[in-house]
Point group: C2
Chain length 321, copies 2
């Protein structure tokens, strides 16, 4: 048995790979078998992370494991889906038992947190990269897409913005850590997919997605898919104290608008649903509104359209896609 065959057995033995509701057959056959209750649809999303492009090549295995899974599960949250399972395709330049144990520990923690089971995958030799495919269930007709926003709806987000991007100088070692950077780093390495919020939004929100590319870029996706204009009030952007303390007010706002790596939900909501959502104890910040038209527009405190001032923001690596 080769060392990569051993890795496959290693993953098959992981706690998150054991049998669970909905998983009829897990790792070890030609396919896994998943059960879908009647009246539910399967939500599927695939993400690839490449070392040196999406994360530092020397990223600690544990942090990488938990972050990779969280980023993928966030797509399920954005559809209002209930997580079910995932597959992991892991390409490694070499087999390091320590790294593998660390990576699996991070994966296990996030899998437990998100209620998702490892049901298959592949381990191959090559430059370090990961492709995760996640599966979730969502009742027929209740999935949240990007296409339903209507004029009059409120534009909302489910948490503070810019933290992931604000963490980047610390992740890359470009800035020395400080009292507030730990909170930003936690946000970067262990984003919490907003699964409860996504499920609460079923039947309430008209459109939703998770912010990965940055608020402005992702709102553009909603505007396009829904055929509407989105107006964002800059003064309403929720910013964490940690981000403000590390970056200052102006840079914090720029990161909130353009930074990406938030993995917080953005959604549109008929105004009359706001109280219901808040009564459910869900986090919600109203940051703007939907109107007829197209594009994404930023408003200053006086309601005048202004040009976003952020420009040169870069994700990790210069050639990320």
């Amino acid at each position: 048995m080769g060392e990569f065959e051993l890795i496959r057995h290693y993953f098959a033995a992981a706690a998150c790979a054991q049998a669970a509701d909905g998983v009829v057959l897990g790792i070890g056959d030609d396919c896994a078998l998943l059960e879908m209750p009647a009246g539910e649809q399967l939500a599927v999303s695939t993400d690839t992370l490449v070392a040196g492009v999406h994360f530092p090549v020397d990223a600690p295995g544990e942090l990488l494991g938990q972050r990779a899974l969280a980023v993928s599960v966030s797509d399920l949250a954005a559809m209002g889906a209930t997580p079910l399972a995932f597959t992991l395709a892991l390409t490694l330049p070499e087999v390091s038992p320590d790294w593998l144990a660390d990576f699996t520990a991070g994966l296990e923690r996030m899998a437990r947190q998100c209620g998702v089971r490892l049901v298959g995958g592949d381990t191959t030799r090559g430059p370090l990269s990961l492709t995760l495919t996640v599966f979730g269930r969502v009742p027929v007709g209740l999935a949240l897409t990007r296409a339903g926003a209507r004029p009059g709806d409120l534009l909302c987000v489910g948490g503070t913005l810019g933290n992931g991007a604000g963490a980047l100088p610390f992740v890359l070692g470009e800035r020395a850590e400080q009292v507030h950077s730990a909170e930003l780093l936690a946000h970067y390495w262990s984003p919490a997919p907003q699964l409860q919020l996504g499920q609460a939004l079923r039947g309430l929100a008209t459109a939703a997605l998770d912010i990965s590319d940055g608020l402005l870029a992702d709102c553009e996706h909603i505007a396009q898919a829904s055929g509407v204009a989105l107006f964002i009030e800059e003064a309403q952007l929720p910013l964490s104290n940690a981000l403000l303390a590390c970056m200052g007010d102006e840079a914090a706002r720029q990161l909130a608008l353009g930074g990406g790596d938030d993995y917080v939900l953005a959604f549109t909501l008929p105004a009359e649903k706001l109280d219901a959502l808040r009564a459910m104890g869900q986090p919600v910040w109203v940051i703007g509104r939907v109107e007829a038209g197209q594009g994404v527009h930023l408003l200053d405190a006086d309601g005048r359209v202004i040009k976003p001032r952020y420009s040169g923001y870069q994700h990790f690596g210069s050639n990320r896609d």
Copy 2:
């Protein structure tokens, strides 16, 4: 819009990415949505192919596209599943429109042949590799696993063996092409997943898989999962005329036993089901039998256990996993 964003739009516009039965929502949102009829389970499989490890770095895009999808769909055939959809995570060192058009043409051809839709994925920059995740449907209780072989069953395969491995010297340019090599190369670059056979085996076969690592290695998987011994009669191995012509009798048998890359189904079948399967017009070669015990055993023409003579066979690349 970056060039990789353009590629995502390119794939979204492909014929195989358009709406179809069972695909409620395709490429372009946070998740795809698939519909599962009541009484069916979802079969899922993930495979990664890395340039220089699983295929030559200069492999023609069209051949790579069709082969990658065929290899993945073959896992669905092995479960008796009906193909539904797939996701493609493609990592590319650079964007070549010509290569991309070729790759997509190959992918489209195989997607049409297998009846499978592209529903999502990711395109990233990095060393060339592909991860495909395929989805199929199979009626509850009828999936073919590796675990059901019983003493007394026949051991069967669905086609001639060793062709993919026999093609390798031609794929790698180590041997000059000749009159019969075209047939072997076709087998390597365009394996035909045995979907009809897999579906016909539902309720008939007791165990099944597709031969990717080589007959002996894959039969070991059935023997282990089922807790039985498998006896293979060497004289019964089906060999193509092309393989015999290119390799000679002895090497052809060795490739059939240990070569891999066949993507032909191997399965165990109660003897009384053989006529029914043949009456359905399905290809079937009986190559041995299942007995109580363990392990895989090779028999000569006189029924004596012999040691497999193949040894130094290598898959493409020296470090394939």
